[in-house]
């Protein structure tokens, strides 16, 4: 019998090899073995919950900044307060109760006695002082220390960036511990919402073994007092694995383990969602284009979560340089944009158009339609306002946005609406993110910039102050360079007002000035968050304040 020709033999070898490749099982998908939880009790114990995240900048509380980092840090550490997911109110964390003096310049936190870190060290007032000092030190170069800027002595330990200032202090003078379980905080200026600020991970307690912020061992495997602890050090670009902390002082978690697979930041949403679909993950974010499809697939099974989060998508406007330096010009722009049409066409109706800067979840502070040009477009009125403000047809307006965020589509829709309705010449300027920020801060910046903001803590002031106050001008985040003394006075007053409802009315007045009268920013839509998860296996899945999954309450079905 003739041997098959060489080429055929080669081809056969290739085919066999290919089949072998396929047959090799990696076991990667089989990792989540169902574990038998207890049959008694409210929630089953056990289970390994898997999801995908993007590589965080840091999980050590001294520098944990974006949602991925905060996700891990908040499971590893519990601070003075926590947030109740359902009511959006602050509730006790390690601090059982707290109080402030009459003018909100001194706060006293009474800690729950006897709680420990997962390595046995005590969680006392000194642990908090240690954590906050460590992050505030100048050498730490922490990007989140600024949340503590209101505490007395901050500038001495952190520095101000001025060539002349020397951050010589090694202790944080505003912090003190009159006794082991009492933490006293002196502020350099009154702040009646300081307790909310302590929600930030940077104000977590750390054990003595943490050392300085530069301690790489602790950076990669922080030891905390939260419902979970690290199983092993952070495998950069690969994975982070958490296991339940059975010595947690509060409501213990149900899951045995959480596997966070780190994936490249390109197409992260798509990778997560496809991972969920193929069984690699139990939970995922959803790429915007696929949300309608995800809804029809996961909602009937109860595996679809939708929540409005504490954020806002808006167009930043430079209010100092022409052509949009007049309020009427900005209002004309806002009236010329048909937000609902864009939401329906580009987002399949799944976003909520914004008529304010403070979003609805902040119930007591939210005013619907404080932006009276946001609800419906009105081309005639827009043209009138534009003409009056010198925004004549043919005027060149730039619309800058960051690439890689999926904004190309709606930005083009805005461009066409402005060109059609107002006759403007809109110059689209895509650029990488860092460059966009530079453009915004430039002295000759003008026109519109795509922007978004997510709250750091559940306070309306956290929207108005960083974005619109005079104290937040660049190098701060008020990159539109809006300044209004009346607005600033109202904010300052609100800070020193202890009574919630009085504060709310001051805030609302402030927003009316900045947005209603001056249109300092152009709200577009709020932040609707959508997630999908494997509801056949899991229950208790929700989104928390930081837009992360509520890992501590998830359990097997």
């Amino acid at each position: 019998m003739r041997r098959p020709p060489r080429s055929v033999r080669l081809a056969a070898t290739v085919a066999v090899l290919a089949t072998l490749f396929a047959a090799c099982s990696s076991g990667g998908n089989d990792k989540a073995k169902d574990q038998q939880g207890s049959t008694t009790g409210a929630a089953k114990q056990g289970g390994v919950f898997r999801l995908g995240i993007v590589e965080p900048t840091a999980i050590d509380p001294y520098n944990s900044q974006e949602s991925e980092g905060i996700l891990v840090t908040k499971e590893l550490f519990t601070g003075l307060v926590q947030i109740d997911n359902a009511t959006a109110q602050i509730k006790p964390g390690v601090a059982d109760k707290w109080s402030h003096n009459n003018d909100c310049t001194e706060w006293t936190f009474n800690l729950h006695p006897g709680t420990t870190f997962s390595n046995g060290e005590p969680v006392d007032a000194n642990a908090f002082i240690r954590g906050m000092t460590r992050a505030a030190k100048q050498s730490a170069a922490s990007d989140v220390a600024y949340h503590m800027a209101g505490i007395a002595g901050y500038n001495d330990i952190h520095g101000t960036g001025d060539a002349n200032s020397k951050a010589t202090a090694t202790t944080f003078s505003g912090l003190s511990a009159p006794d082991a379980n009492t933490l006293q905080v002196k502020l350099s200026a009154a702040d009646c919402e300081f307790d909310k600020k302590t929600l930030q991970p940077v104000m977590s307690p750390v054990p003595a073994s943490a050392g300085e912020a530069s301690n790489k061992a602790f950076n990669d495997m922080p030891i905390g007092n939260g419902p979970f602890k690290m199983k092993e050090p952070w495998h950069h670009d690969q994975s982070i694995t958490l296991v339940r902390n059975d010595s947690y002082f509060g409501d213990k978690a149900h899951l045995d383990e959480v596997d966070l697979t780190i994936q490249p930041s390109q197409d992260a949403l798509e990778a997560e969602y496809k991972g969920l679909q193929s069984g690699q993950y139990d939970y995922a974010r959803i790429p915007p284009a696929l949300i309608p499809q995800a809804k029809t697939v996961y909602e009937p099974k109860g595996g679809f979560v939708h929540k409005l989060s504490y954020g806002i998508n808006y167009l930043l406007v430079n209010v100092v340089n022409p052509p949009l330096n007049k309020a009427d010009a900005r209002k004309a722009i806002s009236l010329a944009i048909d937000r609902q049409a864009i939401i329906d066409g580009v987002f399949s109706g799944l976003q909520t158009k914004a008529t304010s800067i403070i979003p609805p979840p902040l119930k007591d502070f939210y005013t619907a339609n404080v932006c009276d040009t946001c609800d419906k477009p009105d081309v005639t009125k827009a043209k009138q306002l534009a003409a009056g403000a010198g925004l004549t047809p043919g005027t060149k307006v730039s619309l800058a946005f960051n690439t890689g965020g999926g904004h190309e589509a709606w930005v083009q829709a805005v461009q066409q609406q402005l060109e059609k309705n107002l006759g403007l010449k809109v110059d689209l300027q895509p650029s990488p993110f860092a460059e966009l920020l530079t453009k915004e801060k430039a002295n000759n910046a003008s026109g519109l910039f795509r922007a978004a903001w997510s709250a750091d803590y559940p306070s309306a002031e956290n929207f108005l102050f960083p974005l619109l106050s005079q104290k937040s001008l660049p190098p701060g985040d008020n990159r539109g360079r809006y300044v209004n003394k009346q607005f600033d006075d109202l904010l300052a007053q609100a800070r020193t007002t202890a009574d919630e409802s009085q504060r709310a009315s001051l805030i609302k007045q402030a927003e009316k000035i900045a947005i209603g009268d001056d249109m300092a920013l152009i709200p577009m839509w709020y932040r609707d968050q959508y997630r999908a998860f494997d509801s056949a296996k899991w229950t208790g899945v929700d989104i928390d304040f930081f837009e992360n999954p509520t890992l501590a309450s998830i359990s097997l079905k």
Partner: protein, 310 residues
Amino acid sequence: MGRYVVRRLLQMVLVLFGASIILFVSLFVLPGDPIGTAAGERSRDPAVRAVLEKRYDLDKPLPVQYLHYVGRVVRGDFGESYRLRRPVSAYLRTRFGATARLALGAIVLEILIGMTAGVVAAVLRYSFWDVLVTLTTTLAIGVPTYVGGSILQGIFAQKFHIFPRQGGSGSWNLRYLFLPALTLASVDAALVARLMRGTMLESLRADYVRTAVAKGLSKRVVILKHVMRNSVIPVITYVGIAFGGLLGGALITETIFNWPGIGLALYTAISTQDNPVIIAVVTYGVGAFVIVNLIVDLTYAYLDPRIRLE
């Protein structure tokens, strides 16, 4: 030969220096403030920015920065990534490993598929196989990688679940490696096939082949022993060059398959103006290619004495 090698190595060092200087200068020219932003769309605290500026030598004039940089590189320290605040060398080492595995996988597939197809097409000229190879190779060149890769992914990973869609953390795990390697290999395999076919056709016509056949040697033996060996040289050259290029990172393939390699690291670094990473990766990429090129040239000269080394 020895002098030639030394000369080429010196030239390589020059090229590397030149490339890194050009890079340094052009990154300086780029608009944007690489250390002005923190994650999550926030401006950086000016106090922190001041500390980082000092730490990264950014307050010094450019030539001084470059000298410091070279001094550190010689000691193996490529600085710290602005974005990750971690040492670049550790970060890139893992990424490089992942890309190297991908490149090796691709080369193996290229050689196997490409040479087989080329030989088949040349030996069975004008047959159905020849035409099939020609059409397939042309298609492989014409279909963009991101389309071809997405299609492969769609069919074999999503529809039929033969292979996983993504991930694999860049390891040797063949299940994760196969689709991206195949995507990466497809274009080069096509070119290898065409090249192989061309050189074989040329050799088949050569006098010595006709003589050998006339002397009574079977065509099969002639092909295997003589024709293929002589035809392989340009192919090896090409594959060598391709490998050097692959080491530079297959950006699109890594994007589609979430393969944690150098290409993706570079793209992210460029988008976030993470200059230390950019410089390190590009210089390494150029260096890798030039070295591979040199090896290929030397091998070529060694194999074929007719080639003069100028």
